[in-house]
Symmetry: C2
Subunit: 320 residues, 2 copies
């Protein structure tokens, strides 16, 4: 099953008609399925999640970005979340048998179209980054829309990967490729925030813990419970059971039990088959053994999309 | 997501053209998706698995039974597996939010059509059974085609739920409703077949173990490994983790470790979300939190089938 997920973030979390218009731009593409949409008023930001075959998802992504550019003016945008563009980030995520390399190609191709056809500066990020410092969004977005507008024409480090070296009301967009992100929180039956923080330090990559894991210790609404809040940036590199068992052991060493866990957002089937394979000792066990995944594959075969691949941009190997 | 799975068993495992023709009868119904098909030459039997919305699955099931009746003659059928009809068993299985009651209705409705329109005697079984002794297939199939042919006209206990009281070359069909069946085997790192057998006795319902669990101890091809081979007749009643942990503990009490496990056939997503919920302490965690299930739901919404509900048979409340 070769699918791509796209999770664009738009700088609009308050006007429902704008949020709906952007969603419609994606949904109007046959073969594209919207899985989730949520808006945050304080952040003045919304996140759309859709999936389908690569050419369909690419077409929908381009349409969303064009629609957002028509409807959102960064000069008038205020919100708590850092932002630099009407479409702020546009990540492509490989699902099933799609490879990361295919999503990197897709990001490059769509990034070029956004730059050339919409006149929006594009920075390629994460796996699609063309410079090491652009792997991480905060580096690209430093100073937000206002600083980039002022600096893009004169600072070499602000040179976009495609598009003009000046910023219009639609701002700039980060286009990238990344694995599925799993937000996984483990609650500890303890009021000890220092414990949660020390376990977070022990498991996160940045302080020498597990690869592709971000973590921080937090209080919760229940004063008897603290939380280790984590992002698994690549659950194939560090699976849920490795993270969970590490947190559990570190807490147990201090006499504290796990109270509960939660997954925020959607989890891919493969994260569940890896969990079952670990705890039951199942071998060669993956999504192909899951009834609903077989059914999804059968439906996708039956609904072969009429959308043709995107026309390759100039100089593009264009093989996604 | 309201879906129904159908897993008919046909008394033909040798003639590929017959097996293909039966499959085609199901696949020609729009909105019906074949998930699996396998044939066993020694048993001279094949199993087809398809799924879709209730009316589409019902239409496909009826078409399969009609096609099998045209192509299979029980008077000429020989195989190792007990059998009584061209379509030997026809179970409907609720998936997602479909209820067992809906599948019981479906079995009754299709059973009546098979009896009345095709002239094939039908016995309703498992959750659809109209008499306690018909819950279990072996009771219905006792003596196989040959005994039923001889007895159906004169023994009250052979009176079918619908159809004539005589047997043609298509034999009789058991139509029923049952939960998803999970075939789950746990291998023990021990050559001790008696241990596997005693653990099987301890976990199976029939000897006072776990509800809805069938189990037996078996040797494997590896003489250092024995197996507890199980059917979970309803994984919502006794989930995989309960069975696995019980087997693991009983083996550990004798100093034996689990070597590996295997799931035979397809596992529903819900069995995996229950597994993850147990080991991680996830709350309110089900298939709606799984990315591929959301995508499947979106595709099903987009591919609303044009098939109209089955015309209700005479005297039928017909609400599936």
């Amino acid at each position: 099953m070769k699918l791509v997920e796209c999770v664009p973030n738009f700088s609009e979390g308050r006007r429902p008609e704008v949020i709906a218009a952007i969603r419609a731009a994606a949904e109007e593409v046959p073969g594209v399925y919207v899985l989730d949409q949520h808006a945050d008023s304080a952040h003045n930001r919304s996140v759309l999640t859709f999936a389908g075959r690569a050419p369909d998802v690419a077409a929908a992504a381009f349409r969303c970005v064009a629609r957002a550019a028509e409807l959102i003016d960064l000069n008038r945008h205020r919100g708590e979340h850092p932002r630099m563009g009407a479409t702020d980030v546009l990540p492509f995520v490989p699902l099933g048998e799609t490879t990361m390399a295919e999503c990197v190609d897709l990001a490059g191709q769509i990034g070029r179209r956004i730059g050339e056809e919409l006149g929006i500066p594009v920075y390629l990020y994460y796996e699609a980054a063309t410079r090491p410092e652009r792997r991480w969004l905060p580096n690209i977005r430093r100073g937000e829309y206002e600083a980039i507008k002022e600096e893009i024409g004169r600072l070499p480090e602000r040179q976009p990967d495609s598009g003009p070296t000046n910023l219009g009301p639609a701002g700039a967009t980060a286009v990238g490729a990344r694995p599925v992100l799993v937000a996984f929180n483990v609650n500890l039956a303890s009021p000890d925030l220092a414990l949660a923080r020390s376990i977070a330090r022990a498991v996160r990559e940045s302080s020498g813990g597990l690869p592709a894991v971000q973590a921080r210790g937090m209080a919760t609404e229940d004063s008897r419970v603290v939380q280790v809040s984590m992002n698994l940036l690549d659950f194939r590199v560090t699976p849920l059971h490795i993270v969970f068992e590490r947190v559990r052991e570190l807490a147990a060493a201090r006499g504290v039990e796990v109270a509960a866990s939660e997954v925020v957002g959607l989890l891919p089937t493969e994260a569940l088959t890896m969990t079952a394979a670990h705890y039951y000792g199942l071998r060669h066990f993956g999504p192909a053994a899951v009834l609903e995944d077989r059914l999804l594959e059968a439906l996708l075969d039956r609904t072969q999309s009429p959308t043709s691949p995107l026309p390759a941009a100039k100089g593009d190997a264009g093989d996604c």
